[in-house]
Symmetry: C2
DNA sequence: CCAAAAGTGTTTCGTATACACCCATGT
DNA sequence: ACATGGGTGTATACGAAACACTTTTGG
């Protein structure tokens, strides 16, 4: 917990989830006594890496501690290395205490993470960390340069969504086509023609319809689909790009 | 030159140039007395960062020292952080000497760089650093994990070429359309239909024909074109992706 | 029977693809 | 005059976009 940390490098995670037709990010509040929106204590989940720890493992560790989830999509998207990025914050002190070492300069490696929000995060963990989902359209102020990191992560996600099948990481295993469409609309910030969208998707051989429908909805239940990753990979080889 | 370095973080550059219809990378040989191909002393241009130095400045510094060039396209594409990446190499000793500090673990941040090979690198610099261009299709063995870094840089370039106007960073300011085509063919490793390629390019408003032709060639001289970056940026806003 | 979302086809337009010959220059 | 790469046009096929109504369920 102390001298085992590498005080030069940290990892921060921008954790995205799709909920109620909105893209949200999971932020934590280090000071539960204060109002999260105004306290300035909100931050991205993150930590110094452990000596000898590979960055991706640090990111997985942070995710697992916070959410209890493993096997989550993680993608490194940037490094934030402004030498002054930790200045003018008493959170610097916290880092010093945590590492037990003088903290001169910390560069942070940023990952974005996509989670299926239906795998509910255990409530006790959310409470322990004061974790909460905030709509990406209105992320409150955070400490350090974390707002910049979150923005950059969102930009990257928007861009990479267009060429990689990331959307399925954000949806339940079995999803309705209209759910997929609303996800695209939420992330890209535009609206899409329903008929054309469905035609395009249904042509893709790696999106396979099940013999199963939604239930418990008070309208015509949608046919469920799954994403077949093996099929996707085998097709991708020749025509490198995922287009939806 | 010594205690001023940060012994935890380095920057390595994969420098690409397009020459004689081939994509090449600029490698350096730290031991001029040996045959570069077999000595195992080849490496990517790189260095530890200076204390307090921003990563991109370190990359710019490395490029300027090696090539004498400024204002070069640089893009960070990855971090190489395997704790064992420097093991089993006597180059580790060199790093220790250079920094004057015990080197425990160095993570390296990798940039790729695109240079117009017609801006010839001053010969004295190439000699001082033993720098040499090697075709990307047959890059010799290098120290550390530098082969992996170079491969990864090439992959990234191939991918990003498809959605960003990077090609013009590799061509002379004024270029012929067929040069552009050969560049694409070299990087993508495929051949393109000449007529269709020209049609597609000529539709793009940010590729502007000049009233000027090649000279000194012993065939019909090609009309020269330039890439208008301002125009590109203004158009890009709405339809986010560069497609060729 | 009403509310709510699922699901469905056709036409039009533009871009992608395939393909073979003449042109301008230097030597 | 010839060798070398530059430059051009058309026909076909395919995917993108625009557009409005019917269907199925739960309450």
């Amino acid at each position: 917990m102390t001298a085992n940390l590498n005080p030069h490098i940290s990892v921060d995670c921008v954790i995205f989830g799709f909920d109620e037709n909105e893209l949200k990010a999971l932020l934590i509040n280090r000071d539960p006594s204060e109002d999260p929106a105004s306290s300035g204590k909100l931050k991205l989940p993150g930590d110094l890496i452990i000596r000898g720890e590979v960055l991706i493992h640090a990111a997985e560790r942070i995710l697992a501690e916070l959410t209890g989830l493993h096997d989550i999509y993680l993608k490194q998207f940037g490094i934030f290395d402004d030498p002054g990025r930790l200045d003018s914050s008493d959170d610097l002190k916290w880092l010093q205490e945590r590492s037990g070492l003088p903290v001169e300069r910390v560069i942070t490696v940023a990952y974005y993470s996509l989670i299926k929000i239906d795998k509910r995060i255990p409530t006790d963990l959310s409470i322990a960390y004061n974790a909460q989902w905030y709509p990406c359209s209105s992320i409150p102020a955070m400490i350090f340069d974390h707002n910049m990191i979150a923005e950059s992560g969102l930009d990257t996600l928007r861009r990479e969504m267009l060429t990689e099948p990331l959307c399925f990481e954000l949806l339940p295993e079995k999803f309705a086509l209209n759910q997929l469409q609303r996800l695209y609309e939420a992330i890209l910030g535009c609206s899409l023609d329903n008929r054309n969208f469905r035609k395009k998707i249904q042509r893709l051989p790696y999106i396979v319809p099940l013999n199963e429908r939604q239930n418990g909805v008070r309208h015509k239940p949608a046919l469920l689909h799954v994403f077949d990753n093996e099929k996707y990979i085998s097709i991708k080889k020749d025509n490198t790009v995922f287009i939806i």
